[in-house]
Structure formats: C-alpha cells, structure tokens
Amino acid sequence: MINVTFIEHNGTEHKVTAEAGQSVMQAATFNQVPGISADCGGAGACATCHTYVAAEWVDSFPTKTEMETDLLECAIDIRENSRLSCQLVLSDAVDGIVITLPESQ
C-alpha cells in the first residue's frame, strides 16, 4: 500500500492509500477526492486531472511526454511541478507523496 496525501486548493487534506501500478489520478478518483474530474478516464486526452507534485517527489516520475506537455499548456495555472495525474504511476518509491490540486480544472 502506498500512502498519498492530496491537498485541495482550499487546504483540505485527503490521506488515501493506493496500490502500486495505480495512477495518482485513480488514487484520487477511487477515494472521491474532489477536484480531479478525469473526464477521459486516464487516456491522456483531456487535461482534467492536472495536479502539482511536491518538490521532493518531482524527480520520482518519468519526465513528461510531448503529449502531456501539450495538454498541460492548456490547463489553468500551470507551474513547474504541474503534471497530469493520469500519467503518474504509483510505486513504493513514492510512498508518502504529497499532491496539491489546482483551484479548477
């Protein structure tokens, strides 16, 4: 089990657990964390699962594909640590990860 903490834009924390191999997006949707609409279900087609990855975990994931970069450019309030959470696969290496959610998708 991997521990993931989601922090909503208003500061509300959601501590959830997920399994290795699940995406950060699924960790959120499976636990009813609001703020990730994930309209395409993780197919990388829609940019509605935008999140911010806390600094210490940023390098724990493969770098963005061109597709993800393209989609993110159109998300709202993108920052250096912006990622589409459907593209972030959880592993034991990121146990305890903290993910912050944008104000809107």
């Binding site: 499976f30 309209d39 990388g44 940019a47």
Partner: protein, 413 residues
C-alpha cells in the same frame, strides 16, 4: 417536491457519472443504479485498445472500487429494467422487483448492430461492446493470423491496429469510401488510411460483405460484394450501434432515432430524463438540430447537466462535443462536429503525422481534428466554445499557429 428516489437505468459512463455527481453535490436521497452486466461499472474506451493489449488491469478499468458503492450509498442492482410505468412512477425489473422513483434517468446506451449475413453465426465472428466481449478476444489475439474487420469506424480500426501490431494479416472491409467517414474530414481520413497501410492493414472500400463461409462451424472465408474472396480465421465487426429504446418506447416516450429529449435532457415525460448514446438531443454545435452522439464526453457531461437540474440548478445542455481514438501510435482528438464542413485548412505536418485539420462551414470554424497535436485539440475546444472569429484565410497564412492565435484573440473578460 424534492426528489428522494432516483433510479438510473444503465451503469455505463453516463449512468455512473450521474450517481457520482449527485453524491458529490450533496444529494441525500436513494440512488439505484441498474447494470445488466456482471461486476462493477467500468470504462469502455480501453476495451478495444489498452485493455485488449493487456496494458491496463481490470481494476484500472473500474470507475470506482466496490467500497465506493457502499460508502456513497449507491445501490448497484445487477438486473435489467422490463417495464416503466410512467403513471405509477415505477420500474419493474426482470426479476419482478419493482422500484418506485421520483426521477428516472434512462442511460441504457446502445448495442452493436449485428451482422445479418449468411454465416454470421459461425465461430470466430465477434463484436466488441462489453468487457465480456473483450475478455473473449484477449487470449485469441496472439493467435489470430488472418483477420477481417467489417466496418472502418473507430472501434474496428482500433482493433485493426492492435491486431496488425501483433503480426496478423488484417483486412478492413468498408461500405464507405474512406476510414471513419461518418466522423472525420477527408483529409484526416487519408492520414489514417496511410498509417494503417504502413502498419500492414489492407483496406477494401466501397464494398460490403455478401457472405461468411466456414470450415465446419469455424469461419474460414469472407466474400465481398465486389467478388473478392478473403481467407480469414477471425472476423470483428463494428458496423454501428442501435440505441436501446425498446422499454422507453413501450412506456410511451417519444422515440425518434433514440429517446427524444429537450435541451434540458428531459424526455416527453417530465419525471424521466435520458442521456448518452440513447438520447437524441438538440445540439448547440449542430445548429440546434437533434443528434445522437456516441461518446464518453457526451454521456458524462449530460449526466452532470441532469444531476445539476435534479439538485435545483437547471440549465440547458450546451457542452461542446469532443471525441478521441487511439490507433497505433496515433492519437486522434476531435473537438466539435465536422458534419457539413465545406472548407478545411491543415496546420502542422502531414508527413510527420502531427497535424490538425481545421474544418469550416461557410467560413466559420466548426471542428478541429488533431492527430498527435494534443495542444491544438485543447485550444480548439476553447475556440469552438466561443465565437472564435477564426477564418480559413487567417489559418492559411504561412506559419499560422493555433495556440498563439488563440492567446492573441482572447475576448476581453
């Protein structure tokens, strides 16, 4: 009177989303979600793509885990509706159980149009609509040598690409003259025709199938209307769908190419809404004319519109349609409807298979089709949701960039 009992017929993308959104927005009454498939409700798009290829697990296909239905009090009922009684406001199930409702949502979707040909009941002829259909095909995939795909629509072509990548000889037989003819422009069709041919797919356009023949009870040959005979060991068909309207029709609801709903997504009965593949709705992006759309976005956004109405925030359904398909290494994303376009402008590179086709009708942008240009798709959605002012003349200028143009021409807020 406030709504306390919601019954949802169908647990596909729309039906599930309706239940989830109602709970997320504070609905306290009961939700009974009818599913005529075993297991937990799941996403359909991966069936012909990543799930078929074993890239994602059954778990990853689920909308939510089992615990969701318990904690959120969404009663998942594995049964089918048999009779809707509009006067009594009840749904009778196959099991005989009767569910009273304050509001009923028909999200019964559509079923595959079946092949009606000599030999279509032979072993080795498959459609892909449900997880069970995919589960039958997954173990067969590595041993398919010669495949025929009947119908060059999204699902047929997605599977054709998967099978070609496995080394199968793949034939696609299509009545129309080009791939995905109903949904995309000629220019984008051509990009996909070339790509599939590079992957080894052989197209047979402008012809139907006249018969399927077998060795014993196993499929072995397919005969086309133009006289060709193609040796095959497996056939997949994707020749369109039929909306599941029968129960609604029996109940007296207005039916015409699906269940007719108004702009609020209400049927001819004020206590019944409908959404998704089965609903024929007036579409803002189709000049207000009625259309039935078979897509995840349409089902999900319509569910949100209905949920908002039930929670006291009524508004007409006005979301921009968008679609996607993954075939081989190509991701096609479509924003808007290209039906009726009479001019196109290509941006990007056809040779690199990274391009967008901008479709215009009488000078007005109506659709953006993007192949491996996800950024253009997202910008296209923004542009189409407003009066963009983009004309073919502007887009044709050397070096035109859709993203940059959108930023420069954003309306003042």
């Amino acid at each position: 009177m406030s709504i306390q009992k919601v019954v949802v017929m169908g647990a596909g993308h729309g039906g599930f989303q309706l239940a989830a959104t109602l709970r997320q927005t504070g609905y306290q009454g009961s939700i009974q979600l009818l599913s005529d498939e075993p297991g937990l409700p799941y996403q359909r798009p991966p069936l012909s793509k990543s799930y078929m290829q074993g890239k994602i697990s059954e778990m990853a296909m689920l909308f939510r885990p089992a615990a969701f239905y318990e904690t959120e009090k969404v009663e998942l009922i594995h049964d089918s509706a048999k009779i809707i009684n509009c006067d009594a406001k009840t749904v009778e199930l196959n099991s005989g159980k009767i569910l009273p409702y304050d509001h009923l949502i028909i999200a019964s979707g559509a079923r595959n149009r079946l092949l009606n040909l000599p030999g279509s009941d032979l072993q080795g002829v498959h459609g892909i609509k449900t997880r069970q259909d995919a589960d039958v095909l997954i173990p067969l995939l590595p041993i398919i040598k010669k495949l025929a795909v009947i119908g060059a629509g999204f699902i047929g072509l997605e599977f054709a690409a998967v099978a070609a990548a496995q080394g199968a000889e793949v034939h696609v037989i299509e009545l129309g003259e080009r791939p995905m003819q109903r949904a995309i422009s000629e220019q984008m069709s051509e990009v996909f025709r070339l790509a599939h041919e590079q992957w080894g797919v052989q197209f047979h356009f402008n012809t139907g199938v006249s018969a399927i023949e077998g060795d014993g009870d196993k499929v072995s040959r397919l005969l086309t209307n133009d006289g060709s005979s193609i040796e095959v060991d497996r056939i997949i068909y994707g020749i369109g769908v039929i909306p599941n309207v029968e129960i609604a029709a029996d109940a007296g609801l207005t039916i015409e190419n699906g269940i007719v709903v108004d702009e609020m997504l209400l049927t001819s009965d004020p206590n019944i809404s409908s959404l998704g593949d089965v609903a024929n709705f007036p579409c803002k992006y189709f000049n207000g004319k009625r259309i039935r759309l078979e897509s995840v976005q349409n089902a999900v956004d319509q569910a949100r519109t209905i949920a908002a109405r039930l929670m006291g925030n009524p508004a007409p359904y006005i979301q921009l349609p968008w679609f996607w398909t993954d075939q081989g290494n190509l991701k096609l994303q479509i924003a808007g409807l290209s039906i009726g376009y009479n001019e196109t402008v290509i941006v990007g590179s056809v040779a690199d298979q990274k391009l967008s086709v901008l479709c215009f009708c009488d000078g007005e942008l109506i659709c953006v089709e993007s192949c491996n240009r996800a950024g253009d798709h997202m910008v296209g959605r923004k542009l189409l949701a407003r009066v963009s002012g983009l004309t073919p003349e502007i887009a044709k200028v050397e070096g035109f960039d859709l993203k940059a143009w959108e930023v420069l021409n954003r309306p003042e807020v």
